[in-house]
């Protein structure tokens, strides 16, 4: 699947959680120009997380938002924060929401596109990083299986630990499978499996 470019904003959906009418008008007009669709929500009746939007434009002066179910930390939608007050006490609440980018009030037409691009790029990086972390965690979990397979080969073929691991690594490369997958098969059959076809 090709990734959406962060520069391609047309057709994406923005949720505005804002109060000030003048600022709402500025953001709406600019999003219209960019070809994005806009959903507005009353900050006091907010029910999130919601998956039907691609970005949230949030007035940071509204936080802490009373309904604390709102904007849970698990939300995957990138948040663009609109900053009014720069006091650390308020910025701390903002950090809890993990904003992807921000704009400083008063708003102008310039700046929103950059904030969107940075937010979309940041969201994509977060997805990539989460996938990478998951892969690494899988490998850590599979360590036990690899160790068990190495021990199996040491016992069955009287190999040194280094040679047993090298054998697993080279075999996995030949069959175009992962060390972890091959290790699981070694444990299942009680020795190096006789493969005739490539798994991948």
């Amino acid at each position: 699947m090709t990734r959406p470019s962060p520069f391609a904003v047309r057709g994406r959906r923005a949720l505005m959680i804002m109060k000030d009418e003048r600022e709402i008008a500025i953001v709406r007009r600019q999003l219209d120009r960019l070809g994005m669709s806009v959903v507005e929500t009353d900050p006091s009746q907010l029910l999130l997380p919601r998956d039907d939007v691609d970005v949230i434009v949030l007035d940071a002066d509204l936080i802490p938002i009373k309904s604390d179910c709102a904007l849970s930390r698990k939300i995957n939608v990138p948040i663009i924060a609109l900053i009014g007050t720069e006091t650390p006490s308020r910025l701390k609440w903002l950090l809890d929401l993990h904003p992807a980018s921000f704009l400083v009030k008063p708003l102008r037409s310039a700046g929103l596109y950059t904030a969107l691009v940075v937010a979309f790029d940041c969201a994509q990086r977060r997805i990539d990083e989460a996938a990478h972390v998951e892969k690494l965690e899988d490998r850590i979990r599979a360590r036990r299986i690899v160790v068990a397979a190495v021990l199996q080969l040491i016992r069955a073929h009287a190999l040194s630990e280094e040679d047993a691991f090298t054998l697993i690594r080279q075999t996995a490369m030949r069959y175009r499978t992962t060390i972890e997958q091959l290790s699981a098969e070694i444990i299942a059959v009680g020795g190096m499996p006789n493969r005739t076809s490539r798994t991948a």
């Binding site: 009014g84 720069e86 006091t87 006490s89 308020r90 009030k105």
Partner: protein, 392 residues
């Protein structure tokens, strides 16, 4: 000979939730305007144009827009809350006007088009917390109104207190205007904290101080209270008994013993009545107009850039003592003071800084390490031990 006229915008909410304070500020501004206009040392006269945004945040923008377009003002004195100031800043920045802001605020702002005449956080909360740590307690119970002033004051308090090895025992917040305080008072009486830090504002604060006073009497407790916003007119509203004993931080108290202040208070009473007392925000508004008048005189023009340059580092001996604008951040050098509220709606000053202190709106010079007290626990333990005696 009639002096040439300079239009001056005055934006104060004489109605709405903080009408009392804004009314005091407007009175002070008009008093300063009259003094400048009568004073032969100024070769111009201010023509005040009054606007009342009624405490509605959005109305501040239109009030200033109107003053700039219709009345052609270049200088505006006004705003009390940070929310209102944030409404005005875009328009004064866009049109290159100057807002003279009298009220103390929580800091973390520095616009080229605002002269911040009220105290910065290093003038108010920092000396108050230092006094608390040195003389009262390192563990404190916080109660405040749920808005930016309390959030930020409590954050600074928490940072300093934890650097000194103390604890924030609780942080209880009430919505603005809320007067149901009994649950907090009960908790304080039950827990008997060594100190209460009060950042409540308006009616919430008055109700809380009355209720805590009554409950403390019943429980035969005396818990020190600290505030960085209490002022003389409020003491009167709280009532004589409940308002006494609050340790308060401010750049101005009516009881400052200096020639300028004595003369200012006398003029104030002559104008507003003998039982009327000027307060910090009122006095600061007076200082705003006087700083502006002096800067215009020095610059020889009302042009904003020239006035800003003329105001920079130019000392004015005000009722609160020497005041001048720091061009580095457009805030003012002020003298921090600590006082205890006493019967008669007054404050007795027990500490003041040796000299006006440089404004530090971002608290970037705050040295938390200077609050660390390695021997504090030993001292406290020794003090406690003195109260112990062997009982057989």
């Amino acid at each position: 000979m009639k002096k040439p006229c300079i239009p001056l915008g005055l934006v104060f909410s004489r109605s709405g939730p903080y009408a009392m304070m804004a009314g005091e500020m407007e009175k002070s501004a008009l008093m300063a305007v009259d003094e400048v206009n009568r004073d032969g040392d100024f070769d111009f006269a201010f023509v005040p144009h009054l606007r009342d945004p009624r405490g509605v945040v959005a109305a501040y923008h239109s009030a200033c827009d109107d003053l700039i377009r219709e009345e052609r003002v270049e200088h505006i004195v006004g705003c009390y809350t940070s929310a209102s100031r944030k409404q005005v800043i875009p328009i004064v920045e866009r049109t290159e006007r100057l807002l003279w802001h009298p009220a103390r605020y929580e800091g973390f702002e520095s616009s080229d088009n605002v002269i911040y005449v009220g105290a910065a956080p290093n003038h108010t909360v920092v000396p108050l917390v230092r006094h608390m740590l040195d003389n009262i307690a390192s563990d404190v119970f916080c109660v405040g109104s749920n808005y930016v002033w309390t959030w930020e004051t409590n954050r600074v308090l928490r940072e300093i207190v934890s650097s000194a090895g103390g604890r924030i025992l609780a942080e209880r917040l009430l919505e603005l205007g809320e007067t149901a305080v009994d649950h907090i008072v009960k908790e304080i009486i039950d827990r008997k904290p060594a100190a209460v830090f009060n950042t409540l504002v308006g009616e919430s604060s008055y109700a809380f101080m009355r209720a805590l006073h009554a409950a403390s009497l019943r429980a035969e407790l005396s818990i020190p209270m600290l505030s960085c916003s209490l002022c003389e007119p409020e003491l009167k509203m709280i009532g004589s008994a409940a308002s006494v004993g609050c340790i308060t931080s401010s750049a101005y108290f009516e009881s400052i013993d200096g020639a300028e202040n004595r003369a200012f208070v006398a003029r104030w009473k002559a104008r507003h009545g003998t039982d009327n007392i000027p307060c910090v925000d009122g006095q600061s508004t007076y200082v705003c107009v006087m700083l502006l008048a002096r800067a215009i005189r020095r610059a020889g023009t009302t042009d904003v850039a020239a006035v800003r340059r003329a105001a920079a580092n130019h000392r004015y001996d005000s009722p609160q003592g020497p005041v001048w604008v720091d061009p580095a951040n457009n805030h003012c050098f002020l003298t921090p003071r600590l006082a205890r509220s006493v019967p008669g709606g007054q404050f007795k000053i027990f500490w003041e800084a040796d000299a006006p202190e440089r404004p530090d709106p971002y608290l970037s010079s705050l040295d938390l390490a200077s609050f660390a007290k390695p021997d504090l626990n030993a001292d406290t333990a020794a003090k406690r031990a003195n109260h112990l005696r062997v009982v057989k």
